[in-house]
């Protein structure tokens, strides 16, 4: 529980463009990206953004294509906040916050055409690779959106396609090669508290936020997705200004992820 006194204090700080941990409004916490953290996954990564921790695993399965896209592989994104991630501590089917986060990350990767799904066909119209992108929030100290976006992209860069035997069963430990990627996409999120817009809030700072705006950016600078979240509102000017900021900033993060 965050007290009203703390909240008031955070608001006062923000108004002076200051933050409790000394950061600037548009300064991110330290980002640590670890790749290949799960031996049983075809791809994986852990991202720590300050104390926020998100892990993503990529699992590949032989599946069927969608009837309207017989010549493309399939991507399925799942997002779960582990009960340990925060004091709300709830197990059960995914709630609306998990669903929104999962869908926003999914949308960036999907709309940015990150995965070359045309190359995931095994038997045209019958068998294709299904790429499961499973996002787990391990510790929530704010700004899950950026941490998850980074972890998802990082995990994809490590993913490999398993070898199949003649019955289309996976041969354990053998790989055809890397998961073919066309692009890198990262989404970053602007947060708004009253009239102040800032980035990468801690969990404590999130308690005073009215709204967020997530912008998906591709390595070629194109915008690939937008999502306004929460109950607050944005002016046109704010939207455009923050898109512009994120468009640039994202390239720095893309470089970190692609390393």
């Amino acid at each position: 529980m965050i007290t009203q006194t703390t909240k008031d204090y955070l608001v006062r700080l923000l108004k002076r463009e200051a933050r409790r941990d000394g950061r600037k409004l548009s300064e991110w916490r330290k980002v640590v990206i670890e790749k290949g953290i799960g031996e049983n996954a075809e791809g994986s990564a852990r991202v720590k953004l300050g104390d926020t921790e998100v892990i993503v695993g990529i699992k590949m399965q032989v599946g069927e294509p969608y009837p309207d896209k017989p010549d493309e592989g399939v991507m399925i994104t799942m997002c779960e906040f582990l009960p340990m991630a925060s004091s709300s501590f709830e197990a059960g089917p995914p709630g609306e916050d998990e669903i929104e986060l999962g869908r926003v990350i999914d949308r960036g990767i999907r709309e940015g055409k990150v995965i070359d799904t045309k190359k995931l066909v095994i038997v045209p119209g019958e068998k294709v690779w299904t790429v499961f992108m499973d996002i787990y929030v391990v510790n929530d100290d704010g700004n899950l959106y950026d941490a998850a976006a980074l972890a998802a992209m990082a995990a994809l860069t490590t993913a490999k396609i398993p070898k199949l035997d003649e019955n289309y069963e996976i041969i354990e430990g053998e790989y055809e090669g890397k998961l073919p990627l066309n692009h890198a996409v990262v989404s970053l999120t602007a947060y708004k508290a009253g009239d102040v817009i800032f980035y990468d809030p801690t969990h404590q700072e999130e308690s005073i936020i009215d709204s967020r705006l997530t912008v998906g950016v591709r390595d070629d600078g194109k915008i690939v997705s937008l999502q306004k979240g929460m109950e607050g509102s944005w002016t046109e000017e704010e939207v455009l200004k923050n898109i512009e900021f994120i468009q640039k900033k994202a390239q720095t993060f893309i470089k970190k992820v692609m390393k």
């Binding site: 929104e100 709309e111 915008i223 937008l226 999502q227 509102s233 512009e244």
Partner: protein, 242 residues
């Protein structure tokens, strides 16, 4: 932004709403408030119940009403029969709609209560979430719930190289399609719903927002019309009863 000559398959200019674009209040008799929005082939009905008691009690908010939305597509609203029950898409849409509405409904006036908004997509041809949101604020007003303003919603996007207002499903299926659902409070300039899929430049976003604002303002007038007609009808009815 330059005026453009675009040939759309349904004969519209780039900045026109679909025809017919109809808003009608008071379509569900049992509900406290209701509205229907038809945008071309897309048809959505909204109905409101509340403010009412929160059950179980421990979920209530002592400071304001809880606004709960359910966005749902009926099974035969789409070509491939939709499986009944919520899926991830409808959960997300329900959430962003509830978030947007919370910006205009004066929730603080109804502490410890629940306001339920049911949004049923009867027929889907793209733009269902913005039609739902447009219908929702009319239904809330029809229910007599205190609001700062009405909230029109519309999508802008891109298809076949053109920035367009209020895309149809056919346009959304274009190779280069971009879809940007948008909701807006004309009196304050606040953007309350903004989502986007597709590959665009910042300039294109700017253009789409401008177009969406224009569309929203047109829809706002239709919302006000619909409520006026509804009140007129109610007034006539009360005349009759007298």
């Amino acid at each position: 932004m330059v005026a453009k000559k675009v040939k759309r398959s349904d004969g519209r200019t780039y900045d026109e709403l679909r025809k017919p674009y109809i808003i009608k209040a008071g379509v569900v008799k049992r509900a406290q408030g209701s509205a229907m929005v038809q945008s071309g082939k897309t048809i959505v009905i909204a109905a409101v119940y509340g403010p009412k008691k929160v059950i179980p009690k421990h979920l209530e908010d002592r400071d304001k009403a809880i606004l709960r939305c359910r966005y749902n597509m009926i099974t035969f609203s789409v070509k491939d029969r939709k499986k009944p029950g919520p899926d991830k898409r409808s959960v997300e849409i329900s959430k962003v709609i509830a978030n947007a509405l919370s910006r205009v409904v004066l929730l603080e006036e109804y502490p410890r209560t629940l306001i339920d908004v049911d949004l049923e997509v009867i027929q889907a041809d793209a733009g269902t979430r913005v039609a739902a949101l447009t219908a929702a604020s009319v239904a809330l007003a029809d229910a007599g719930i205190a609001m700062k303003d009405l909230m029109p919603a519309v999508a802008a996007g891109r298809a076949n190289g053109h920035i367009l207002l209020d895309l149809t499903k056919e346009e959304e299926d274009a190779e280069d399609a971009v879809d940007m659902p948008f909701a807006y409070i004309p009196s304050t300039g606040e953007i309350t719903l903004l989502q986007m899929d597709g590959i665009v430049s910042k300039e294109e976003i700017k253009e789409m927002i401008a177009l969406a604002k224009k569309g929203a303002e047109e829809i706002y007038r239709l919302q006000v019309e619909a409520l006026k007609e509804r009140y007129a009808a109610l007034a006539r009815l009360s005349e009759v009863v007298k």
